[in-house]
Amino acid sequence: MKKNLTYPFLGVFILLFLGACVKDTDFNNLDEIQLTPVVELDLIYFNLSAQDFFDENTSNPILTVRDTTAIRFLDDSQIQESLKRADFYFRFTNFIPREFIADFQFLSESNDTTYTTQTLVTQGSPQAPVVTEFEQVVEGDDVLLLTQASKVVVSVTIPSSDATLEGDLNLKSKTTYYLEL
């Protein structure tokens, strides 16, 4: 009786171990896994006064004001590999009775221009500000150009200016990054 029980018991146990397997699975589809996070991130903002477009010392208009900031995350190697599309959104609120041209020039570390975009900002007034929204979708080959940039130069150009000009020009902006990891 002992033998009758022992060997089947052992046999089942050994078979369970030897028979242990992984089936109905496909580990090759690991390569097909794609993380596709969509990240919303503020970009730049500013508040320009009408006085910024007029030099009180020389009484001459300053038709273009310009500033630069590094955006070093953009040319990070991980971003270069993962970024598939970037949607820029700029919202200008114009209290100044002038139109503006806003230029965004993306530069590489060696100051080569990699990508540019530009928009016209509608004229407003101190009493009735006008909002101008501008969206720029960057995809395809342009993404590669964009991710070569590590800084952006923002230029704001006014057609004319004088000492009596009043109001502010406000910019808020953000970027939607479509990543594929």
Binding site: K2, F9, L10, T25, D42, Y45, F46, T69, I71, K174
Partner: protein, 471 residues
């Protein structure tokens, strides 16, 4: 080789309460059962384990997910399956790796019937809870989660690599009671812990008074990672790592002390209860300690341009560097080298056993010189309880078992275990005593061995010992 690799890959997604050795607990034919209850009954007079082969234990798992859930053949693409699981898993689900390798194990009974046992084993234990919010943030991004507060406090993980030196005594008092105690010295090789974190991250749409379109806010962050044994390895640049780790295994690192206690009481000739508390102790980390502590609240609005009037060749403000400095100032990560103590994960075992069947022993008759004590019978059934204290509270398991001495040289124990994550865990252990040579093997979740990919729990223990009876 590919199948082996497949098996290994699949093991990363199997669930169980790591370190629960429900089959070995109370399995008195196996000397290592003394490590689960220092007060269990000891049948042999002398034992010593085959060095490095007396106990090999491996448990790799995760709760709430199996390899099949992700890699199983399905019409649904793998990315969708992972996404579904990311949302399905809870922040109390966990991933564990536990491995033990016994280096030395020995024991002997002296003339006063005290059984001494001791040894050395190496242990690696890792657990991380599933940080659900951060997984969603990483998988989805924040676009569809405006105003949602991602909980940074879900980060909870510990990891320890150590050598344990232990020595215990076990003695039967009267006919009914057996008690045992084991002292432990922990020699920590590498340790890290990040628990009791708090804080949140939220992206809110700004209003007209906001600086920019969004407000990205880290609120009340309080995150800590304690490490010991890591800084010197990081700074060694790979040179002499092996000798450094070996040195720490022999008390060259951080030391801790602990104790196991346990007992067995025979209520009647057939019924007995047992219980044990393991790893009641702490490790005192004072050497090679680095603790990283991040605190604060900060709102990111983007980069504000000021358009300063510049002379030719003059550079504007370093906005980006200033922003980085501001973040580091508002959310500082301090590196501390102060000592800290770490409680060992306390484990509790308890069992109730009812023995029946044939009397064991050569004569096959009742031991009339042992009135009141339990008989050594060929079969038993019972219940066991197991609990281990983890960072987010105790994890518990209940086991029903059936024991049978099948032959003079062969014993078996079958278990059915229920824990919060599985109610179909069937395990089986076999112990053979061929001459003085003792071999045992125990594995659970046998129902899943037909396809390990569907298992949410697999653990395996096996080992070789020499057992000697003086009679």
């Amino acid at each position: 080789m590919q199948n082996l690799l497949t098996c290994l890959i699949s093991l990363w997604v199997v669930t169980s309460i790591a370190q629960n050795k429900q089959i070995l607990y109370g399995f008195e034919e196996v000397p290592q059962s003394l490590l689960l209850n220092p007060g269990s009954k000891v049948k042999q007079d002398i034992h010593f384990g085959i060095p490095f082969f007396s106990q090999i234990h491996l448990n790799i798992g995760s709760s709430g997910i199996s390899a099949y859930d992700i890699f199983g053949k399905s019409d649904v693409d793998i990315t969708t399956r992972i996404r579904n699981k990311i949302f399905e898993l809870k922040n109390t689900d966990f991933f564990t790796v536990t491995q033990q390798l016994e280096i030395i194990n020995f024991g002997w009974r002296n003339r006063k019937e005290v059984y001494f046992s001791g040894g050395i084993y190496q242990e690696f234990d890792f657990i991380t809870y599933y940080p659900r919010d951060l997984a969603i943030l990483a998988w989805e991004g924040n676009r569809d989660y405006l105003d949602y507060e991602f909980d940074l406090g879900e980060i909870s993980a510990t990891g320890d690599l150590m050598t344990v030196y232990h020595f215990g005594v076990n003695k039967q008092f009267g006919k009914k009671l057996t008690l045992g105690i084991r002292a432990k010295l922990y020699s920590s090789i590498l340790s890290f812990r990040s628990t009791n974190n708090s804080g949140s991250f939220v992206t809110r749409l700004g209003d007209e008074n906001s600086e920019n379109i969004y407000e990205h806010t880290v609120q009340n962050a309080n995150l800590t990672v304690e490490t010991s044994g890591y800084a010197s390895l990081r700074d060694s640049n790979g040179g002499g790592v092996a000798s450094e780790i070996l040195g720490r295994a022999f008390f060259g690192g951080n030391i801790g002390v602990g104790v196991d206690i346990g007992g067995t009481y025979d209520i009647t000739r057939n019924l007995s209860v047992s219980a044990s508390i393991l790893d009641f102790g702490a490790i005192f980390h004072s050497n090679d300690v680095e603790t990283y502590h991040a605190t604060g609240t900060y709102t990111l609005d983007g980069i504000e341009l000021l358009f300063p009037p510049l002379s030719a060749g003059e550079e504007t403000f370093p906005y980006y560097d200033d922003l980085v400095d501001e973040i580091e100032r508002e959310l500082p990560i301090d590196t501390l080298t102060t000592s800290y103590s770490q409680l060992r994960p306390l484990k509790i075992n308890a069992g109730l056993k009812y023995s029946f069947g044939k009397l064991l022993g050569n004569s096959g008759v009742c031991d009339c010189l042992n009135p009141g004590g339990s008989d050594d019978l060929s079969q038993a059934v019972g219940l066991q309880f197991y609990s281990i204290y983890r960072p987010k509270g105790p994890q518990m398991a209940g086991t029903f078992f059936y024991y049978r001495r099948i032959a003079e040289f062969l014993s078996a124990k079958a278990t059915y275990t229920v824990d919060p994550y599985s109610n179909s865990n069937v395990g089986l252990g076999l112990a053979t005593d061929i001459g003085r040579f003792n071999f045992y093997i125990a594995a659970d979740n046998l129902l899943r061995y037909g396809n390990l990919a569907k298992a949410k729990s697999v653990s395996l223990q096996l080992g070789f010992n020499i057992k000697i009876d003086r009679q």
